[in-house]
Amino acid sequence: MSDSRDAVLSASGVSISYQTQNPVHAVRDVSLTLHRGELLGLAGESGCGKTTLAYGLNRLLKAPALMTSGEIVFHDRHDGDIDVVGLHGDSLRIFRWDKVSMVFQGSMNALNPVLTVRAQLHDVFTTHRPAMGRTERERRSRELLGMVGVDPDRISSFPHQLSGGMRQRVMIAMALALDPQVMIMDEPTTALDVVVQRGIIREIMGLRERLGFAVVFITHDLPLLIEISDRIAIMRDGRIVEYDDAENIYRRPQHEYTRELLASFPSLRGVRGDFIRSGTRRKGARNG
């Protein structure tokens, strides 16, 4: 992935802290460039600031979280650059979901349990495309479900009538609704079984190929990221400690933490048990 490709979202020097009695600096001086159509993996363990950063990129932070410094610029396909930090009111409402959408962690909680899938999909259009008629809304909603591999007739279902994988697909359909240029996915498949997870990842990759949106894919599952990402940023304690092509992260990791994370995942088909007698034990005892 060369830097000469168009950037779609760039962040520089972003810091976010939680303004509590003892302020927590969750994100420190993070700079990233997301290119058009790129799949950027954001890896790190719990508490490293990856979700906070994602919320920051989408301007979803709520007090006490506060972006204390930095710039986020969205390079629109049509309208030129948008200063994301400066958006407020209507301009912010128009930006969100239309330009950058999000698939949240835990589809169980992100979908409204008392509304049908139809109501929740239509809602996106009534809010963002007020001119769209009911028939058209229904047509688009069904089309979206088809695109993510859910039978369009399930549109009348309530979330609890769907399996976990189907719910996650509905979330993706919703994120696709306005043809965004960037989709931020926060642990979109972590709670799912591997076979279902693989199906959804394949779906995301295929849709990206067809529709050309860029993806920020957040997870702690580094092997998965290496398999699917163009580039990967490794986060620890709010900082990006390494940021490189997936291949370099895997084959030539520079930072010690990256090596440590890689070593935490035993190779499925590699030499058996080679790390069991390695130094991991002492390190594990210290950390855990």
Partner: protein, 287 residues
């Protein structure tokens, strides 16, 4: 009671049917069908499968938290008792480590309390000094060194990995020979998972503990166990030597699971595959 490092724990034709009443309708779910396997002392057997495959039901039947509908659990060839003293004796030998170290420890009590209780219950003849010595020894065995400080702390003062070590110590406290570990590391941060698994591996190797390791993670199942059992909808569909099952899977479901597992060595392959497939239309949906 048999010596640590000897004996075998056996499941023979285990089955469990759950009956669920929904108004007047009663539906039955076959959570486990005809499961038979043996965990020998000093060996680790991995039970892998997806959620709902019956792995945890097997764990609960082996630890006598759930009564099997069919079949039986045997220890050293003798059927395990369902109640009374026989059950107490069985539980001295077989203990469980739960998935969630945040939920399995009582936040009101110190680590010392958590470890002293099983020691006292299973060894009522021990004096206070001996109990204290056992607790120190247990903390040492799970590599929570500087045991004094850990003993007096409460669960919230410990990290997830440390809590899971306490849970393992508690499982060892009665003098257990077998441990059933149900997804013991899936709730822990990735960088500390191997430390906890290595601890179980050390106990298995050095003390001859028999371990049933329940997981959905094929990679750790392979590296940390001698034998792997693959479960699908309540049935064990494939079993064998850990390397053989992972490297030369026979059953279609095992192949599917392996195909779905993330493998960094396939870097970029999925993208290329999807790109090639994009011309022929969207891939079939799973899930």
């Amino acid at each position: 009671m048999a010596e640590r490092g000897s004996g075998r724990l056996e499941a023979r034709g285990l089955g469990k049917v759950f009956r669920m009443r929904n108004g007047l309708r009663i539906t039955t779910v076959h959570a486990v069908r005809e499961a038979s396997f043996t965990v020998e002392a000093g060996r680790t057997v991995a039970l892998v499968g997806e959620s709902g495959s019956g792995k945890s039901t097997i764990a609960r039947m082996l630890t006598k938290l759930e009564r099997p509908t069919r079949g039986e659990v045997l220890i050293d060839g003798v059927p395990a008792a369902h109640h009374g003293r026989g059950l107490a004796r069985y539980r001295r030998d077989v203990q469980m480590v739960f998935q969630d170290p945040f939920g399995s420890l009582n936040p009101f009590h110190t680590i010392r309390h958590h470890l002293e209780r099983p020691v006292r219950i299973h060894h009522p003849h021990l004096g206070s000094a001996e109990v204290r010595a056992r607790v120190a020894e247990l903390l040492d065995r799970v590599q929570l060194s500087g045991s004094k400080r850990f003993a007096e702390s409460r669960p919230h003062e410990l990290s997830g990995g440390q809590r899971q070590r306490v849970a393992i110590a508690r499982a060892l406290a009665p003098g257990s020979r077998f441990i059933v570990a149900d997804e013991p590391v899936s709730m822990l941060d990735v960088s500390i998972r191997l430390g906890v698994l290595n601890l179980l591996a050390d106990l298995q190797r050095e003390e001859g503990l028999g371990v049933l390791y329940i997981t959905h993670d094929l990679a750790t199942a392979r590296h940390f166990s001698d034998e792997i059992l693959v479960m699908l909808r309540g049935e064990i569909v494939e079993r064998g030597d850990a390397d053989a099952v992972i490297l030369h899977p026979q059953h279609d479901y095992t192949k599917l699971l392996l195909e779905a597992a993330a493998d960094p060595d396939r870097l970029g392959l999925l993208r290329d595959e999807v790109r090639a497939g994009a011309q022929t239309g969207p891939a079939d949906a799973v899930g």
